[in-house]
Subunit: 325 residues, 2 copies
Amino acid sequence: MQFDYATQILEGSQRAAARLISWLEDEDERAYEWMAKLYPHTGNAYIIGITGSPGAGKSTLTDKLARQIRKDGLKVGIIAVDPSSPFTGGALLGDRVRMSELSTDPEIYIRSMATRGFLGGMSKATGDVVRVLDALGKDVIIIETVGVGQDEVDIIGIADTTCLVLVPGLGDAIQSMKAGIMEIADVFVINKADKLGADQLSAEVCGRLSMDAHIKPSDWTPLVRSTVGVEDIGVLELWEAIRLHREFLEQSGSFHEKRRQRTYQETLRMIHTELFKAVREALQSNGRLDRAVEDILEGKRDPYSLMQKVVSEWLSIPQAQKEAS
Amino acid sequence: MQFDYATQILEGSQRAAARLISWLEDEDERAYEWMAKLYPHTGNAYIIGITGSPGAGKSTLTDKLARQIRKDGLKVGIIAVDPSSPFTGGALLGDRVRMSELSTDPEIYIRSMATRGFLGGMSKATGDVVRVLDALGKDVIIIETVGVGQDEVDIIGIADTTCLVLVPGLGDAIQSMKAGIMEIADVFVINKADKLGADQLSAEVCGRLSMDAHIKPSDWTPLVRSTVGVEDIGVLELWEAIRLHREFLEQSGSFHEKRRQRTYQETLRMIHTELFKAVREALQSNGRLDRAVEDILEGKRDPYSLMQKVVSEWLSIPQAQKEAS
């Protein structure tokens, strides 16, 4: 008899969850059967996104927030997403450091993730891992990302409440705001608030918020909270701000709409990632892509025509449209 | 008779280039015909990547570097890539600011880009724009990115020489190094070198480099240069370091291998992006995806089974394999 990962995970087995997550990261097809079985049991966890520049103290703050949430008797999952190194892979070191600090509490599950280097795969994989932790019974899942790139914006788009962590002295705060990252934040966290410049930064953010009130397409006015992560100061207030945002989402009806949009994007992403994987594997098998690249380098063909040829030949969408209707 | 964008661009028309780039950004299919025609005329420009945290002074440094390169009589293109805002789009303000500073020199062409919000689309679009500027006759193309996410790593992977800009006081420098960003740098730039802590940062980087000499899979030992961008100090030395790296690539044979790998990745990326466009359009037409999402939200189906169903129906790999062989 086959080992039943779905039942095991629903009963709270972290070992079974860890195995399934590894399969997901490796794009192992065995994962899908269990993910399909787990899916109806997901959607219960509340998802918090924590993002901000490297050095902003996100890891420490995430840990303290997790402990704070535990005080309410809620189970917590943490997904730490590191941008991958193209050569050495990313998350391993961070993983070990984090585990040692929080591993005393069995109800906090931490997973670090690094990309496997394939396009867009990180957002899909993060969504998958969220669902596994959700099925595992976690009440709150915190996704922590490093950096402010497009991939991070996509990943953080999974969250119900997004916290942007800023710190005084980390260059010009307005710089990161210019980059358009401000609009994704539901809660601004001024971390290391005991440092010089914290009050000014806080005032700057508030000023920008009142100025740009129109750019956030909802009626929610982002909250600003000050914390000192390492000293556990302001963490309760941060957790309260997150709960205020949750209440807002639930009472305004935005919650359902947000989840609908997320399901829409995730479904699209899943289909695309799976299609690309199949096409990539087919192109790479037997050195077919290698030959095409040699032809391109020798000027015998160009990648634009190749791209159009591959897509038109490999996708039989008209048939699928018939089937689906 | 149709307007011949390819000939116009090869003759140096910045207007024709700007139009073609807009089509590429909009994923307008008209672009591909001209890109296919231009492709054989590309591959001549040398590509420099400039990356680092927001606030590191990359824009100023890029401008000064461009002016320095112009002194050698070389034509320069600058592509400034901003992480997109999911709501308002990114690059417009930066674009205007930059144009006013360098627009006096007609041989410096600047283009700011923001994502249109699609996965991996930014890297593909940046590669496309590099080729347009290459065909336009630019000798050196500088790609400047904000942030340290996976998208930026992909974009910067297009460059022949990658410069990582660090500044003293911008949080813990070791933080960004932990994130695996160090391995992508061919030249480290300690900018704002007149600030407190610059010497220490420089020593730290040199220390890490001698420690981690094994992680960079090439015989190139990254160079470390100090600059004060706003005062134009050290920019000539930075340009010399870039030229040293170029000589190394050309003499060691790495240059061809690097271009081959880039072509390989770019071809894959093009197919990835084009697939997504096809998938998105097919699923969105007639509200098909909307209906599937409603079913998923109501628990009637799960996205994993849907994904596998769509992929198995749409993919005609056997036929494509026959065609390609």
